[in-house]
Symmetry: D2
Subunit: 483 residues, 4 copies
Amino acid sequence: MSECIFNKLHEECGVFGIYDNDSLDVIASTYSALYALQHRGQESCGMAINVDGVITGHKDVGLVNEVFTPEVLTKILPQNGKMAIGHVRYATSGSRTRHNAQPLVVKHCKGAMALAHNGNLTNAAQLREELELTGAIFHTSSDTEVISYTITKERLTAPSIEVAVSRTMDIIKGAYSLVITSPTKLLAARDPRGFRPLCIGKLENSYFFASESCALDACGATFVRDVEPGEIVVCDKDGLRSIKDHCGGPTNMCVFEYIYFARPDSVIDGSSVHTARQRAGAFLALEHPVQADVVIGVPDSGLDAALGYAHQSGIPYGVGFIKNKYIGRTFIQGSQKQRENSVRIKLNPISATVTGKRVILIDDSIVRGTTSARIVRLLREAGAKEVHFRVSCPPFLHPCYFGTDIDSRENLIAVNRTNEEIAEIIGADTLGYLSVDNVVKLADRSTCGFCTGCFTGEYPVEVPSEKVVDKFSRPLSESPKKK
Amino acid sequence: MSECIFNKLHEECGVFGIYDNDSLDVIASTYSALYALQHRGQESCGMAINVDGVITGHKDVGLVNEVFTPEVLTKILPQNGKMAIGHVRYATSGSRTRHNAQPLVVKHCKGAMALAHNGNLTNAAQLREELELTGAIFHTSSDTEVISYTITKERLTAPSIEVAVSRTMDIIKGAYSLVITSPTKLLAARDPRGFRPLCIGKLENSYFFASESCALDACGATFVRDVEPGEIVVCDKDGLRSIKDHCGGPTNMCVFEYIYFARPDSVIDGSSVHTARQRAGAFLALEHPVQADVVIGVPDSGLDAALGYAHQSGIPYGVGFIKNKYIGRTFIQGSQKQRENSVRIKLNPISATVTGKRVILIDDSIVRGTTSARIVRLLREAGAKEVHFRVSCPPFLHPCYFGTDIDSRENLIAVNRTNEEIAEIIGADTLGYLSVDNVVKLADRSTCGFCTGCFTGEYPVEVPSEKVVDKFSRPLSESPKKK
Amino acid sequence: MSECIFNKLHEECGVFGIYDNDSLDVIASTYSALYALQHRGQESCGMAINVDGVITGHKDVGLVNEVFTPEVLTKILPQNGKMAIGHVRYATSGSRTRHNAQPLVVKHCKGAMALAHNGNLTNAAQLREELELTGAIFHTSSDTEVISYTITKERLTAPSIEVAVSRTMDIIKGAYSLVITSPTKLLAARDPRGFRPLCIGKLENSYFFASESCALDACGATFVRDVEPGEIVVCDKDGLRSIKDHCGGPTNMCVFEYIYFARPDSVIDGSSVHTARQRAGAFLALEHPVQADVVIGVPDSGLDAALGYAHQSGIPYGVGFIKNKYIGRTFIQGSQKQRENSVRIKLNPISATVTGKRVILIDDSIVRGTTSARIVRLLREAGAKEVHFRVSCPPFLHPCYFGTDIDSRENLIAVNRTNEEIAEIIGADTLGYLSVDNVVKLADRSTCGFCTGCFTGEYPVEVPSEKVVDKFSRPLSESPKKK
Amino acid sequence: MSECIFNKLHEECGVFGIYDNDSLDVIASTYSALYALQHRGQESCGMAINVDGVITGHKDVGLVNEVFTPEVLTKILPQNGKMAIGHVRYATSGSRTRHNAQPLVVKHCKGAMALAHNGNLTNAAQLREELELTGAIFHTSSDTEVISYTITKERLTAPSIEVAVSRTMDIIKGAYSLVITSPTKLLAARDPRGFRPLCIGKLENSYFFASESCALDACGATFVRDVEPGEIVVCDKDGLRSIKDHCGGPTNMCVFEYIYFARPDSVIDGSSVHTARQRAGAFLALEHPVQADVVIGVPDSGLDAALGYAHQSGIPYGVGFIKNKYIGRTFIQGSQKQRENSVRIKLNPISATVTGKRVILIDDSIVRGTTSARIVRLLREAGAKEVHFRVSCPPFLHPCYFGTDIDSRENLIAVNRTNEEIAEIIGADTLGYLSVDNVVKLADRSTCGFCTGCFTGEYPVEVPSEKVVDKFSRPLSESPKKK
């Protein structure tokens, strides 16, 4: 999605775990995996290493190669661990803060535990309040701490960590893909609906859990299978085993994982993400055909759909933009004239592709429309005769309660507007979105159902009546009246 | 103490709090105060700012001016707080870790709370275990988290934070000087024995709490009085008030605060630290007189006692060493020959003062003796004819359970050795320690009793039978058998 | 080229200059331009700002957004300049050193001067020796300092800086694209052969010089024309004027600018780089046809040629690899097993595209072959049935004397090997290179001739008999005998 | 001097060199020496290492332990040098810039050379102009580059580097203490007047040059003797030898080296700096006696003189202030009220010493008087009954042309004011300066004459008619008319 250049829509996390039985360097594997999962979260990252039951970690705001400097990798992290978990995060709050970085390492009556979590609970606020009323103190405002407390409470009476996790799954609601290390075990758990992906890999006798298969590839591991919705997978000295008490119900993978979040080289639930995106383009070509000379995509995530559109329609595929590959925080101000031009620093059209041409432009979403308008203008300035905008997903109309940070409703361009009105705002000649009917067909080999709540407002599970704001970030003067 | 150059003996912390009623910049005050308290802890530091009940903070390993960069002070910390607390820390563990930095900011049923703590509980391990058995999870291995939990638990039934703190003081044992901010109040509490100092300051209508009065000076505040042993002082919109339920018993201030930890410009319990150190020198001159030409001190903390010795004995005071004032981490290796010389980089004798002279050398303590031996050798190489070593405190023979990190007993040079044997080891002609009888007379205007446990092995309160090691830093393979 | 991921073949520099007449922020423009030119050099970068004749600058090792931090941009650089020049550099020596970073700012009898240089002189060593024999001292080992000295010497008798530059062009030989600021003028000069690109842009009344037109786009400027080979363009308060004393001879643009160095969205000498690369692919399809199911390119620079090959051959274009876009220095070691896998961290194949397919793989060059072999292996592991390797340039067989750092001859895989032998080494089923006959036809609208010396060994100008090593980096013990 | 806390008066440099014959680590020695010389310059520092004739270095703005990180010491600097030179600098310009950092490493016809320079030439501007008129280009605005050029020019015809240096000493005028390394030699040279100190040390068979003997101590080297005014000392494989062509004339060491610049543990020209300062206090007691209860000094440099005053007068010496030893850049703003208090963060009075007392306060200089006024006020607020200010040098009335950056004349409080007027301004009861007659007697065992130009306006050598401003930092619009 072009918006990714401007950081508008965010997945919250990627998770990883390794149980080594082959003298692998678990830090090196976790580093490689987090680097491969970096697209799932750029705000903060962390690792926790388990050395014979002692669990220590390091986490901070920044990219993987910023946080994990040579000094951290060789001096701060312990060097002889057999288990490790890792996490990358994009905070919903927007502020760059170290407090909510993961994994969360906690100490409790049965030893230490570290958790990495991708998703969003729908009953976190309620669980938190119940815990507080028994004297619990919280260091963070993250769901992960609520999950940790719940597991710990259950662990007091449960015979094992896996039973405690299973009981916790009776209590927590919503989306979660978890990787956990206890003193002697590595666990993976996925919520019964399977909102977020989670898969299992293997390299010789060592096991891996990861949000996406591209992280397994980065470790040199082979993809074994996905963790099933509702499944708990336990890895310890006896190998892998599975608890399926919460499996078997209806499932609802987030369809936006295929459209935008996941890396195209990942395979989720049996379906290639790259193929799913090509299919989105092909469906678009069928739903919204138009006469044109070239099909181009907005880098990087619009490219696959553009190729699919081109193949389906027979209109040539072209490279329309160059994206500056030296990504990073840039600081630049300049005059008004210069600021208006700032998008070109990151994205520049190739005139040879578009000048004098009728252009079909594919992007994977439109949020506010501001960026889309700029990109259309770039094409016109570069000489495009016509610009036909095609979007490889349906319009966003509703909030997500399962871990995606969609803009607030008043900012969503598609709310209460026709395609023609949107086309006019963004300066396109025509506009077409992929239909909800087709969006659920993208993953051709997937056995999961899908969640399309952000498009339809129909959610697979109960959602809170209103979005809860963290009460601790609300000043006293704005507090609701005491009851 | 000379050893301070080589980081051998550590106080664990300094604390600070401000309640502003005069449009002061609470960040600037806290910064100034922590900078003034830096000698009490150089490993990590932190601040928590209370803005209308929302408490956020920043803490990290490093010195105050390393952690609180312009960006942190102006962008990361919130700018309009009316309350703030701060902390400097020297970790006993030795490893530079961010995890145990303070203040600790927690969220619980009655709102947020931040704590800064100086001291050491004697029943922390036991309390922690009890809490864990009710499902508590711990993020740190510090006593401060145990105190936070205990306050939170009591707060569930207590009508106010101050009552919760008072009840907590019935539960926790040992040494603690606490500064706490709740959403609407700033509190200070000192353990009933008054092991660690804590005082109150005022500037117009604003109030301050600090470990030492030098921090009040740095804020431009006036010293009001010490917090009494056992007292809780509460500051809120109605001003200052006091809870003295735990006051009135026997008191035992750590005498080493006067000898080494505190800054000479601080006044503790009515007694000037500078004067106390001069008195130590004067007592030494009476206890261990010797014929000599000059009295010199080991910078910085031996200087005051040297001046006292000189005044009492009539032997001229001289400047014997220059200490390099560009303190900081240095990294240097070099050949064996060069490493042996490394002490000179930090401390160099002034030949003009000592060549051909009989020298009385005053230091405030000897721990292992290694550094003392090097310093004596420096003086001999610079031409001193005789070196008479005088120590402004009694010999260390026992561990401290109240917040000082004394070396393990097998490393203490004074254990099982006569003064003559020690003198021979460190190369001095004669050696004399201040007596325990006189050490308790140093603070001439103090009304407190003193703790001299590290010299005598007689502790004012019950102490654990053995030093407890954090169970979470012990690998599974070394765990004790399950009972 | 895939090798770019592994830093094997380097252009040395990109240059930029701005003369502002419209209250632009020259720092913001230079920043944007250098950011757009970053692909031409990642080792160091710099700016020099001219404020009313006072020229100051900042340069350091690192990427543009690492060196030009907010503090540097707003506090260290002067804020009200009307002229600025900038530079990005990749050092041939390989060591990350600040000494040879540019622009070079010097002070001489007629005022200050700053230079930014892209290219390589063939008579630098000789000129340097002559200068030294008159007492010159050198701070760097770069050609740029030789050029500065020469201009300064000529300036002693020349009536203007442009005449001094013109006379300098009689003296210096080889490849150079220069941007210079004197106290009152901005100059651009390109060597008579035009080895390296250099172009002119305009925005309202302000002028720009840049190595590539993509930098003009980033500034919001319009492309005016290329600086002609041999031309000096002078910009001052009277506008733009041209000195063409060295124009009109044969020209020899480096053809590798089209194949690899330049950004695809740049237009050089009238020809789109993107189009040139597509043509390379089309020529390859004609020269080396093969039956296959899909054509893929090695990201990023092989993609355009792959698209050209696909269009020409009718075989579908596919996306074969995902390149991790979070580029940056990574530090990772791990076990032997893990190191072998390290290429996957940066480049991962998409199985859906290649499994069970006959694949045509396009890359823009092969240097040592090691990386090519790894990439072919990745495809085979992902299930490719056949891999037909096509290279969009002829084989490297000879050194470059004009600014490209080609590996030493003994490392070049193509030297003394047939295509079949190379194919076997890299594991490809077949291999085909673009012919020299076609490589000079890539730039369809270019009026320049080309240099193909690295392919043919026939150089357009005299080259040194051997590569000269900087005498100052040679220890005394290895010095040649004094004559 | 108290002003040192506020950075008002600056020495420009410290220099060092080592010629190793004993397998010492020359980097470790240079590091130790620069650390010991840090008080002579805190803006920037650098080292140049000579490995078998190849000279490379590293320099940057910052303190020694900031610039020479472990990475620089072990990876950037070459590890097997036998010669090294080093430099610490305080720039007169005030701006923190890397450009003028030293040592200066240059390459010329006879090989490489590195120079470190302490002092200030009086004819640099004229020499520079002459060089420029022959085509020289300058990278810096420092005298050091002028000296380098001159040596290089002379070297063209001189038979050796030492002869070139000797001829250079015929040409350059003013103050200079130089340490130089050529490919095979280490040289030290001191100007004929001996304005700045320079001494020779030895450790086994290795030789050392340093601005002050405290740097030799830090290296474990033994002081051999001072380099004589006008002497060139050459160290090479044949050992040490001396060229004394410029020796024998009148000499004029800067007296302020004894009063403030040098470290008290250094011995210069046979006289202990510490003793000289004590003598200053004793002379003051004789010149300006007063009835009082205690004598205190402003830390650090007023302490020795205070001790001397106390011994001479019989009035007890006391410790009046604690200076915060965690020096470093601090950033703090706060309200107006808080800023006024800022001096206390660095310097806090000890009430026990001064309350109710008549205090004699010794400082080593008064420049503008602002800081002195603040310090007097601190004492009064702490309860001092009377404050008698004594200054251990005469009043500053004239500029220095030999390397000290004295404030401009309009800022000097002593210009055109009586002692009584100054006393009133700074709030002291009485004020007394050391007389010029006595200031030249401070160095009791020195054979040098002294420069007292800043006190008397009588300079030992010709000085420029006006202070020359670097023409390259003057904008065109302010340039003088061309002649």
